[in-house]
Symmetry: C2
Subunit: 675 residues, 2 copies
Amino acid sequence: MIRKYTFGTGIRTDAVTVPIPSSEGPVPYLEGNADHTQYRYPLSDADAVYGLGEAVRGINKRGWRYRSFCRDEANHLETTEAMYGAHNFLVVKGEQTFGLFFDYPGSIVYDVGCEKYDRMTITLPEPDYDLYVIDGASAREIIRQFRHMIGRSYIPPRWAFGYGQSRWGYKTAEDIREVIRMFDQNEMPLDSIYLDIDYMERYKDFTVDGAAFPDMEGLVKECGEQGIHLVPIIDAGIRIEKGYPVYEEGVAGGFFCKDAEGKDFIGAVWPGKVHFPDVLNREAAEWFGSRYAALLSLGIDGFWNDMNEPSIFYTEKRLEKTLRGISRYAGRELSLQEFWDILGSVSRLGGNEEDYENMYHNIDGEMVRHDKVHNLYGSYLTRAAAEFFRKWDPDRRFLLFSRASCIGMHRYGGVWMGDNKSWWSHILLNLQMLPSLNMCGFLFTGADIGGYGEDATEDLVLRWMELGIFTPLMRNHSALDTRRQEPYQFGRKDAFRRITELRYALLPYLYSEYVKAAVNDDMLFVPLGLEYEGDPRAAQAEDQMLVGESIMIAPVYRQNAQGRYVYLPERMKLVLFRGASEYKETMLEKGDHYIPIAPDEVAVFIRQGHILPLAPGGRRVSEVDCRALTLLVCEGSEDARYTLYWDDGYETDVENPDHSTVLSVRAEQQPGQER
Amino acid sequence: MIRKYTFGTGIRTDAVTVPIPSSEGPVPYLEGNADHTQYRYPLSDADAVYGLGEAVRGINKRGWRYRSFCRDEANHLETTEAMYGAHNFLVVKGEQTFGLFFDYPGSIVYDVGCEKYDRMTITLPEPDYDLYVIDGASAREIIRQFRHMIGRSYIPPRWAFGYGQSRWGYKTAEDIREVIRMFDQNEMPLDSIYLDIDYMERYKDFTVDGAAFPDMEGLVKECGEQGIHLVPIIDAGIRIEKGYPVYEEGVAGGFFCKDAEGKDFIGAVWPGKVHFPDVLNREAAEWFGSRYAALLSLGIDGFWNDMNEPSIFYTEKRLEKTLRGISRYAGRELSLQEFWDILGSVSRLGGNEEDYENMYHNIDGEMVRHDKVHNLYGSYLTRAAAEFFRKWDPDRRFLLFSRASCIGMHRYGGVWMGDNKSWWSHILLNLQMLPSLNMCGFLFTGADIGGYGEDATEDLVLRWMELGIFTPLMRNHSALDTRRQEPYQFGRKDAFRRITELRYALLPYLYSEYVKAAVNDDMLFVPLGLEYEGDPRAAQAEDQMLVGESIMIAPVYRQNAQGRYVYLPERMKLVLFRGASEYKETMLEKGDHYIPIAPDEVAVFIRQGHILPLAPGGRRVSEVDCRALTLLVCEGSEDARYTLYWDDGYETDVENPDHSTVLSVRAEQQPGQER
């Protein structure tokens, strides 16, 4: 049951697609203050708190404070409060089990047992939001209700499940060809290459640098013939440059965000000074979305939207003021305090939230200050693109994912987990964010494998790949000036090849589970605590996870580890993979196990009564053959059945029953029988 | 066997006290380059690398690059290369097992399987050092040989093993009294309160702020009467202030480091502009050490030396140049590159290593550029203090520890692990650094419990305490403007009290093991891999550790965890403590175990054939009574014996056999018999 409590009449997030009538009376479970800006809930020792989407720390969010406010924050430390996404859904599971969703586009702070271990406090800046309180038979069921209310999750084309190679620093068409060549030479699977900001002319959206990429259309075609998709980045800011059509159109149409004086707001990001398209304005959003045509018409069918928190390196006004302030110190004796003041003023130039208070949207004719609706920006920008893609080709799925997001955007695209680091702890964070994001509707997601910032080592990238083969978005991405980390850069090429091939062998399963999760409003990555409800040990499992209905994974995320402990909440079959066709099966009893897992091995645990179908692999998603599946099962699960979903990889009619086939081991063992 | 290879004739670290004659011929094990500035060693899959003292990552250092160059670096991330200490001893254990010590006071980079997983590369800037290559029957034995060569580790007075409370921000005598009052009110053990820079007059070393601490001598006495020691901080920089005696004496005596022009080098740190005492100069060091008399004469008997890398916030020259550079940009249009340049120039103001190239020491009349001998600075500063303490009272041990260090300083004082953070990952890092530091001679060490930077939560501090009760230095310390984290700030006061009392109950054991480790050149914290040599699983244990001869610990360092996995390399007895006198004993077989450990419990594992003596506890170290010990043993270990070391807590004659008593369980069970 979902109850909705409405406070104020301000702007909502448009997350909810199945309207719920407002309830009267006090909000259940929570103790609210008089002006409806704060709620408290006493946490008992056994309570766990799931959700909040993109956030640091564990699957159980208890023990820290989190802030919903999209931020360009590349240091995902334990104490980081706000990340790129703002996801206001959580489930308390314990003495009482219930879900909460705050439909509000501004900043919210969740203190989940941080200030006091036995208290959750949720604080909003103003009483102007809808609060949904969800009851259900279980946490999982509450999540399903919520997901149903917010509408079906985005489903990408199948090729987007292939391995993607990315790096900030592929500067020319020749660089792209070289990457493909190296993958081919090493017989490593590859489906897409991502173009970071390098491909643009002076970082101008919807342009191509003609010197570095003299024939982008030809290159797209050339790659396409090899089965490789090019996926360009689109940034939020539009460079201020006379004669640049997007800029000129935006100014002429009044499509840019305004400042307090009604002039087009100016920020500085990669292109230098920019205006931000006012994607919260219907007309401007439509216009911005339509600009993607410039690249779609070159044959491109996938995009990633970046910098759309929006990130602002600085605003001219603040920079001017800061530099003027600093100039006053030059040539004279400074106190330590004055020195700190200088450092402080410089450090406050970038990502200064006060800048958002000088930025305005035109929403249905009303000027709305940006900070009040901040979390919608990246979402609406991505939605603008998605809505245009539907016009461009309504019968085709496009790849689209975003850095900033809020709930609602899950219907239009995926998210990547932002600018992480080449840290072992970020492998675990990658794992732990998956279910939280799934709960909030984001099924298409993954982290930058190998880490975006800082230097990666071979063993880190290999272990990270061993998790990455299970995430819908499987992309190796790294920043300029960090160590190169394409799998062919390392010594153990064979291990990288075999692990990537395993992804392709798992694709029929992963793709089926993905589409089923989307269609059934379910999670793809399920914490053990949400599946094995009566098992207190399962609730503690922070580094293992169910992936779909049939398997559990338990990645190794510690350097130099040759194995790890795994808790089996039921009898399972361990399949220790060294590649798509090389694996060892062992039945294991419910309970605790230490599993040796060599650096080039992946442990998969198959659940009793379930089937893991395995394809022969391939070097492109298009090569994955569903007609020759091996079905892996536990001993004693010979009656198991599995519903395989397989379409043409692009079509939008995902509920067409023709796409589903029921597999069973017996059928497989008796060829000639109908499956 | 230790072989020494000498290159060049430059300054050494004075780490070695047992001289070794130089060998001729090629350096064994390593492949060196022609000019003796780089060594390589091929790492086999089974090789582990131990050592390097204060450094990030695991006990096994394999998989990253580390730099020996003392740095004021408060972000102990996975990718941090240099920390406060510079410790050039490591042991390769695997196909071949050997130790390496580079006696060199400048920067060294250790690539331990980072660039290539199967290669270690060690790079020095110049061929001017002694390299010691150590062979032995085992890694442990190699470590003992090394430790013997570098001389006996520092032993603090016994009270320094008590619980210490610290915080940057105890600003007045009244603040100190309030802390003591709160500990007393809550019946929490306490032996010392640390004074951070707040106590000084304008951050001037060897002064006391008369307004905030109107009668320091009286306060020291007042605290002393309650059994509490006050432990003031001493920083490296001496404030430039006319009339300040230390400044005036330093200038007059020529005791400060010089710049390239021969003037006293100027840096800015907490006091504002400072000169740095030239502690590498014998006379200057003696003078600096003698200044501690100002505080010793107030009754103070413990110090911590900070900022002695030396940390430099900025130098005037660089600041001037930077501000002048920035001023040029004011009032005009900036490119993004110019913006980055401004940010870069400001970020390079602090901790800029180029500043060290303009700083000089007078070593026996020769002007030596600081960067060449950088790692000696903090060590020699601390040594200067220690040598003066010996003059002040040769028969008494004083508490002394330092932030910066290099091997050699271990004879004069301990180290704390520097400015860490309130991160769960830093509990594990705390554990993992212990054996590495022990190997390098640093036995008296510990991390800032609860974390120095950022906000701590109650559960974090409690779990961290549960490790901290085993570290010789047990100090809760936090930074200004972070959340208060004294144990009495939290709800579960009873748990904090019981855990701290357990420390006092363990003191007879911890103190005995500490002194024995010092006397026998042994480690106090021993990785399982160094004790159970034939056991590959023991070699993998990165989050458990032997503490002394009798016990293994396995702290919980994950938020919300109610237990953890533990590997038992032999049959052991689990003692699950809830306090000094409340515990549950269970025999466990060799192998893997999941151990439930509630948030207020500490798991200790007693080894077969060994005794863990347990005192009744107490609220001061001076109250700990060794006459009423409970002896815990495994079943079947009734013949075990334990050598208890107990002196008056101050005396220097630690080898006096009267301080040792052999305990046995049988004796205890038959009262009246002589022990």
